[in-house]
């Protein structure tokens, strides 16, 4: 007979892998079960072991299905801590599943960042976290599945690099088909789900994703304003009212009934919203106004992806305090959110791709990557560096883009002359210079001029 918690040394059997695992220690617990560090032929891994009441035949079938199908394809799928195998113990009807071990020193939960236990991600890392989240959920949805429990509790991220891990994938199911024991957390549930007018689906996942992204950027719930503040008893009926029956976004441009109250609790949310780039604010407003009642108007993962890729390309460090700031092409300068100094606009690289134009702020140290030229191709998911903005070695204030690719760039200067720039050489950052990289035309645009 096997008891809970599993005793140290307990032997478990991985069904498909046909291997034996040994329990080293308990490392966590949740509502559905407990998580153990185990040792096996693959080294240290983890096992989620279900509680007796959760170890149902349906749950076992669901895990077996996930093991059979595997995670979504490619880099986007590798971020899911997917069930690797069904795990059983001799003499027990309970079961669990095997998964890879998470480096909890490197990866943080959002609550750990709030409590100052892990570093606060900068704007660039936030863009990367947000991009990777959207990218992975897009891959999951494209594979015909929905997650059904998107929340900050299932997300871990590297605050420095922005790399993401998505945990607790045992609730993943076939979109609009499979039954599930978990319907998510109220705070993240779409209004139609709370009103019991709909089942969990990719559309309800999109609402939860928007709430999660809002938490990541603003550190606040999008509906926690005057309405929540005025409830003396914040119970389930009150939550259903605020999240499901009459949700109003705290920054809704037209409905003002749920503004942030004048209370210190809301200072952080107000300050962080103020530094959100306008394009991000616009998508949040759409997600939490039109998208509430009309699921078809929710922001898709693709839209989030494109936004965060673009935002990341517009980040420049403040020359005075080094804080990261997002800067727009059509502004002569921005005020640093941290030290309030004026940051002059840098030149931009306008990239004209068949799928649409994009731009990259050319601050010192910025990398031009293969995804900027040909999205969706190349190694390392397009992250391969093919150019970098560098200072001129001897002329103060002068800069150029160094060719770090294997190919030779063709450069057309404003005076009409042309030149070839081989790997290792740099193109000066002169406005109106056009660089052709693998057939894609990129033009250096001058900074937006100051008003006279």
């Amino acid at each position: 007979m096997v008891t809970m918690p599993l005793p140290i040394g307990q032997r478990l059997h991985a069904r498909q892998l046909q291997t034996t695992l040994q329990v080293i220690k308990k490392i966590g617990e949740g509502t559905q079960g407990e998580v153990y560090l185990v040792d096996g032929p693959q080294g240290y891994q983890t096992v989620k072991w279900y509680k007796p009441e959760q170890a149902t035949p349906d749950q076992q079938d669901a895990i077996a299905y996930l093991v059979r199908t595997g995670p979504p394809y490619g880099t986007a799928g590798k971020r899911f801590i997917w069930p690797l195998d069904l795990v059983t113990a001799e003499g027990s009807k309970q079961f669990g599943y095997l998964m890879t071990r998470i480096d909890t020193q490197r990866f943080a939960e959002l609550g750990e960042v709030w409590a100052h236990l892990k570093p606060v991600p900068g704007i660039s890392a936030l863009c990367e976290i947000s991009y990777q989240l959207a990218n992975s959920y897009r891959a999951l949805h494209l594979s015909g599945h929905c997650y059904r429990d998107i929340s900050a509790g299932n997300l871990m991220f590297d605050p420095k690099t922005g790399d993401v891990l998505i945990c607790d994938n045992d609730n993943v199911g076939v979109n609009r088909q499979s039954h599930c024991q978990v319907w998510g957390t109220l705070e993240y549930m779409a209004p139609e789900l709370i009103r019991e007018e709909s089942d969990p689906s990719t559309e309800t996942d999109l609402h939860a994703l928007a709430v999660l992204l809002f938490y990541l950027w603003v550190w606040h719930h999008p509906f926690h304003g005057e309405l929540e503040y005025r409830y003396h008893c914040w119970d389930i009926p009150a939550k259903k009212q605020v999240y499901g029956i009459s949700p109003i976004f705290v920054f809704d441009p037209y409905k003002t009934a749920n503004r942030l109250p004048d209370d210190p609790d809301y200072t952080v949310a107000r300050d962080r919203w103020a530094i959100c780039p306008p394009a991000l604010k616009a998508l949040f407003i759409r997600a939490f106004t039109e998208g509430l009642e009309n699921p078809g108007r929710r922001v898709t993962e693709g839209e989030w992806q494109n936004l965060f890729l673009s935002l990341k390309d517009h980040i420049v460090p403040c020359p005075w305090c080094r804080a990261e700031n997002a800067i727009a092409e059509n502004l002569p300068s921005v005020s640093c959110w941290h030290c309030k100094s004026r940051i002059p606009a840098p030149p931009f690289l306008m990239i004209r791709r068949p799928g649409g134009n994009s731009s990259l702020a050319l601050a010192i140290g910025v990398a031009l990557r293969s995804l900027h030229i040909a999205p969706g191709t190349g190694n390392e998911n397009g992250a391969q560096e093919i150019g970098r903005v560098v200072s001129h070695p001897s002329i103060p204030g002068a800069a150029g883009i160094r060719n770090l690719s294997d190919s030779t760039w063709l450069v057309a200067f404003p005076d009409g002359t042309t030149s070839s720039v081989p790997s290792g050489k740099a193109v000066p950052l002169n406005p109106k210079t056009t660089i052709t990289i693998d057939g894609i035309s990129c033009t250096i645009m001058p900074p937006f001029p100051e008003l006279p």
């Binding site: 809970m4 918690p5 617990e29 949740g30 509502t31 559905q32 407990e34 609550g111 750990e112 709030w114 409590a115 100052h116 236990l117 929340s151 509790g153 978990v182 319907w183 957390t185 109220l186 705070e187 550190w219 719930h221 926690h224 008893c233 914040w234 119970d235 389930i236 939550k239 209370d263 210190p264 609790d265 200072t267 952080v268």
Partner: protein, 300 residues
């Protein structure tokens, strides 16, 4: 200063017993300063669901936080009030445990912080703590004077909910003797400072955990004066103290330990940290499953 034999107790026969004891630190006695710690215990039920709640607070005590003694007392009031309200709001509905636990982590820090601020502002209006025309310019200045840490615990039928802002220790000793620290350690801040309920972003600074009641155990909530007397909560000496405390509870019974606790804390303060000392210990009975009823007198 109250007699060392004084302690408070709260109990629910199904869940267990909670005892608390608070002592003025030796250095405070010498300096004729009051104890700036506070604790509160509560037991009761809602919707036939029993619960035990306790809270421990440690007022910061330096001149910037000159009303922190009151701040600590208001903090334990706020915590118990919010824990009981939280329990009541979920006990009435047939809510999945996932929602219950997630709700605690998401809501309790915000609501407890808000409640504490309300109580502080009420106290300001009642006591006028800004005499001589020293009117504060912003509410933040008011809250700073009342600055305190806070530990809060709610024990219900199958779950133990824990929350903490600032330093102090929450330790669970399972019946087998395993010591668990359910919450991550408080980050080390410059100048021996700690996170405070008076911070502007206090609602974000909490650490929370929800754990299974399972086989129960002894759950300790202590201000940092105690672990500081043993070289910190990670030290072997502190582990020995925790185990010996649990052994004494098992051997002599909770009431005997409760009666002796004040004297022990006085001695620790006198020979070690000198700080105020507050300890709450909850002896949590094993969770009763319908198929495995606990026999009378078994466990704590």
């Amino acid at each position: 200063m109250p007699s060392p034999e004084e302690f408070l107790c709260a109990a629910d026969t199904g869940l267990g017993w909670a005892f608390g004891c608070s002592r003025t630190g030796a250095s405070h006695v010498q300096a004729h300063k009051p104890c700036e710690d506070a604790y509160a215990l509560w037991s009761g039920s809602a919707g036939a669901e029993p619960c035990i709640a306790f809270a421990v607070a440690d007022g910061h005590g330096d001149p910037r936080h000159d009303l922190s003694r009151t701040g600590a007392a208001l903090a334990v009031d706020a915590a118990i009030s919010e824990l009981v309200t939280f329990h009541r709001s979920y006990a009435d509905c047939n809510i999945p445990r996932l929602q219950f636990r997630a709700g605690f982590k998401i809501d309790f820090p915000r609501l407890a912080t808000r409640r504490w601020r309300e109580l502080v502002l009420q106290d300001v209006h009642r006591e006028d703590p800004f005499p001589d025309g020293r009117t504060p310019k912003a509410p933040e200045q008011v809250f700073t004077r009342y600055g305190t840490t806070l530990l809060a615990v709610l024990v219900v039928s199958d779950t133990i909910l824990l929350a903490q802002i600032g330093d102090g220790d929450l330790i669970l000793v399972r019946p087998g003797g395993t010591i668990e620290f359910p919450l991550p350690r408080d980050p080390v801040l410059a100048g021996n400072e700690t996170h405070s309920l008076s911070s502007t972003d206090a609602h974000l600074l909490w650490r929370t955990a929800t754990i299974d009641r399972d086989n129960g155990g002894v759950l300790l909530g202590a201000t940092d004066g105690i672990s500081d007397s043993f070289n910190g909560a990670d030290s072997e000496e502190f582990s020995v103290f925790v185990h010996s405390l649990v052994d004494r509870i098992t051997t002599y019974g909770v009431e005997a330990v409760a009666a002796a606790m004040g004297g022990w804390l006085d001695r620790f303060s006198a020979i070690a940290s000198g700080d105020d000392m507050t300890l709450v210990w909850a002896c949590i009975r094993p969770e009763e499953h319908p198929d495995t009823p606990a026999s009378a007198g078994e466990g704590w």
